[in-house]
Amino acid sequence: MTDETSAPPREPGFSTLAIHAGAQPDPTTGARATPIYQTTSFVFDDVDHAAALFGLQTFGNIYSRITNPTNAVLEERVAALEGGTAALAVASGHAAQHLVFHTLLTPGDEFIASRKLYGGSINQFNHAFKSFGWNVVWADPDDISSFEKAVTPKTKAIFTESIANPGGVVTDIAAISAVAKKAGVPLIVDNTLATPYLWQPIRHGADIVVHSATKFLGGHGNSIGGVIVDAGTFDWSATDRYPFLSKPRPEYSGMVLHETFGNFAFAIAARVLGLRDLGPALSPFNAFLILTGIETLGLRMQRHSENALKVAEYLAAHPKVEWVSYPGLASDRYHALAQQYLPKGAGAVFTFGLKGGYEAGVKLVSNVELFSHLANIGDTRSLIIHPASTTHRQLTDEAKVVAGAGPEVVRLSVGIEDVADIIGDLDQALAKV
């Protein structure tokens, strides 16, 4: 037995978890890398085992829409990296958001969201979610009191990004968490741009973390995927406002999920009442690629951040550049928040403004040779986009500006190539603007 006076065992560090968490040698073959369990279904040991699995009475696999052993390794790994109790891997970042809100909201409910979000999320909340009767109320991350003012008796959750796409906005998660706690609602943080290497929002009060694993987690631009992490911090039974968790579920003969699964009940609910019924399952092959990417997450995020800082410094000194919004720069309005929340680096994604406006933006993206002109971030490769003519095109001019995607704005996702080549490419393209 343990010596009661002994110090607690050392917790493994980030990169050890990034390589090992969730991945044990395969019990049947001894395979050390995580096998791709490319199968729809799993045989039962016997009829009784089948019944126990369907009743959620035992751990195990039935069908890959609900659980899959490759996906499970990804889930446990991201849960460990974020410091959560459990996770659920799904087909995309958007699917992750959909399932989170499906688990929390019923028609007529409201949620508060930061105005500064990925354009696709703004669309999802403004349009797709409205048709489910889930009503978004926008707030300004630069004015925390706007979150407080937006709270009504119908508010069921607050949503924000840690570092917001595209603008390099650093959100004061601890301050927004205080608003959420006062309102008695969970705080959901999209941690896609920071990744748990740079920032663990659960430490600052997030109750649920979501990821577009498509981006830095996978990191190589080869797979779409999403992850939901349960922090295990929210008391779902304190009120009767979250019936998926606190009420007997007819889907499972009256089982109460929070009472049964305790501090990982949210992840279970998103799986068995969300993923099971709505269906956006992640392919095990994609899970494998994302897992392989995560093994080098720490190394990549270090290099991404170092390169991005140098590129931002270069751009800030360039005569054709009007402004650079990178929180790693000492002059940036979010620098103080970055020092508080992002001591290891401010990530790879940021925007800058060209003096030449919309046309200069179009010219720049047309003249790069190393940078790829495409609508993604978080690749080993350097990426560039002019949001006003692409991702944020559907928004009104005013909404574009509010979302940090005005006509002069260019977004970079700085890759991990040699930084001299990255800067060299921008230099030659800017010369043509």
Binding site: N61, T67, E76, A79, Y252, A267
Partner: protein
Amino acid sequence: MNHDRYDDTYIRAILSEVRTIAIVGASANAARPSYFVMKYLSERGYRVFPVNPGQAGKTVAGLTFVATLADVPEPIDMVDVFRAPEHVPAVVDEVLKLDPLPKVLWTQLGVRNDEAAAKAEAAGLKVVMNRCPKIEYGRLSGEIGWTGVNSRTISSRKPLRLGEGVQRLSIAPRGPKSS
């Protein structure tokens, strides 16, 4: 001892050494957590005795309910308590009257009563509170990771399969058998 956290080695030793488990407050309703726990533990090879006066004599999932701890027909290694914290002292009083004394008092997730625990410890019992033996077994065997739960354990050693089935793992020590 400190009941805010437990080392994995402490929990593993308990779950490895006990064989007979009495579950106080067990339910015959298949949607209740206590039912899951008794069924799961019995499938992992433990001898499980559900204790609930309202169900005495009834058999569910091959397990027969008894009314009180004293009615369990064999020596009990561990008593697992599914009762609210305020009822734990009365359960401990019952436990301490058993002969032989059980080795372990375990109280479920959300159930903690430090005074009752101290009394059991003074009598030589090991105590675990505010934990679920099913979750702990699943965590230590690696089974719980199949559901995306953070087991907070890492190992480069192959998990051990339990019994005949493919979807069952053991908590026995992994790796090369010591010679």
